[in-house]
Amino acid sequence: MSAPPRRRAVVTGIGVIAPNGTSTEAFWKSTQEGVSVLDRVTREGCTHLPLKVAGEVRSFDPSAVIEERYIVQTDRFTHFAMAAADAALEDARLGRADTEDRPFSAGVVTAAGSGGGEFGQGELQKLWGKGSRYVGPWQSIAWFYAASTGQISIRRGFKGPCSVVAADEAGGLDALAHAVRAVQRGTDVIVAGSTEAPLAPYSMVCQLGYRELSLVDDPARAYRPFTEGACGFVPAEGGAMFTVEELGAARERGVPVRATLAGHAATFTGASCWERSREGLAEAIRGALAEAGCAPEEIDVVFADALGVPEADRAEALAIGDALGAHGRRVPVTAPKTGTGRAYCAAPVLDTVAAVLAMEHGLIPPTPNVFDICHDLDLVTGCARPAQVGTALVLSRGLMGSNSALVLRRGAADAT
């Protein structure tokens, strides 16, 4: 008995709400120009805290893109998610009418690291300031990690597989892998990705416990991975959503295939055990290459995790060499997130967007604010580098010990 033909998951749509742009076009323009938008924290109630620099989304007006009831009932991270999901579906030319008759053919997967902290803080303040009778009913869902998946599915009428990866930063890549599996199992469309909104007082105080957080107050010096000046990472908000679709379904609809999600693997090596992350990240890379049927030499660019902590940077540089061999020292490596900050689970999703755009434009974006590399890596700095990019590798690690790798191929890859 021969195996049934494998269903392939491809990207047909992208939606971005990032510190450096609230559309895919604006994000790419800023990313390929190497613009850094890291700046002093301006959010109300946060400016007295020791975290001084972050990547804030400043040009997003939820009321312009989301119905008022969703604004009242959900947190900022869900506003981002709904707006990015709309953009990703529009990019894929999937309107409400396309899924109305087949609601079970579409689902949602998101990853969330911090949930709706700002909304939750407001309700807790009512609880302790005025009493339990003043806590509104939306608290029961708005703060929750699963809120974005739930609200996107409700708002768009999707009844297919819905799930949430409530995990570490690397969960952003794992969410895309979940979407691929759902498509392989028979669902035509999954809206997948991650958005985060951790720049509010309560959420920010929670992060102050991370010893990897950069407290440097100069936006140009606060986040410089792979250099002698590495002093931790700068947090950010925002994120991205993808329309992940079955290749045959995309072709039937006649929409362009932007990329193929070819391989993924994840490992775990323990919270803040950065030296051990070398082995875990290398194993994740090997697993992702194996699933993609991809030789190390085929990788045209690596989007690094780039934590900005010396032992973590060293572990990552070594892991790339361990997994890719001699090619690891030649392959261009980049970390555009040094210009926007790390939006936790959304950080590797934004990197995945940048990887798709790098393949489409034949241009590897640079690593802002980073010069004088102290590791054996060909890190792209200064200006974007023109290159034929057919295959990209995206890496992510979380503070709690997760390591993930994702291999992407340009367009429909070698599918026939």
Binding site: E67, R69, Y70, V72, Y134, G136, P137
Partner: protein, 85 residues
């Protein structure tokens, strides 16, 4: 504050607690359109009931949050106020 809930107050509460805009006129003219159709689900109605209780200092019957239409809701809430007066 009035001891009777008007369509004006219900309209204002729907907007404030659930983000759903329905004018008082519309509520008055079509009081039998289900909350569900207006975009108010069970959590939305729960929020409206809670806000009413806080404002007026009167507990609402448990059935209040199960009312299907603005007419049924206003009838129940106002009879509760009347009984308490």
């Amino acid at each position: 504050m009035s001891d009777r809930i008007t369509v004006e107050e219900l309209s204002e509460l729907m907007k404030k607690t659930a983000g759903v805009a329905v004018s008082p006129q519309e509520l008055a003219e079509r009081p039998d359109v289900p909350f569900e159709e207006l975009g108010i689900d069970s959590l939305g109605l729960l929020g409206i009931v809670g806000e009413l209780e806080n404002r007026h200092g009167v507990p609402m019957p448990p059935d209040a949050e199960r009312c299907k239409t603005p007419r049924k809701f206003l009838d129940l809430v106002n009879s509760t106020f009347l009984a308490g007066a």
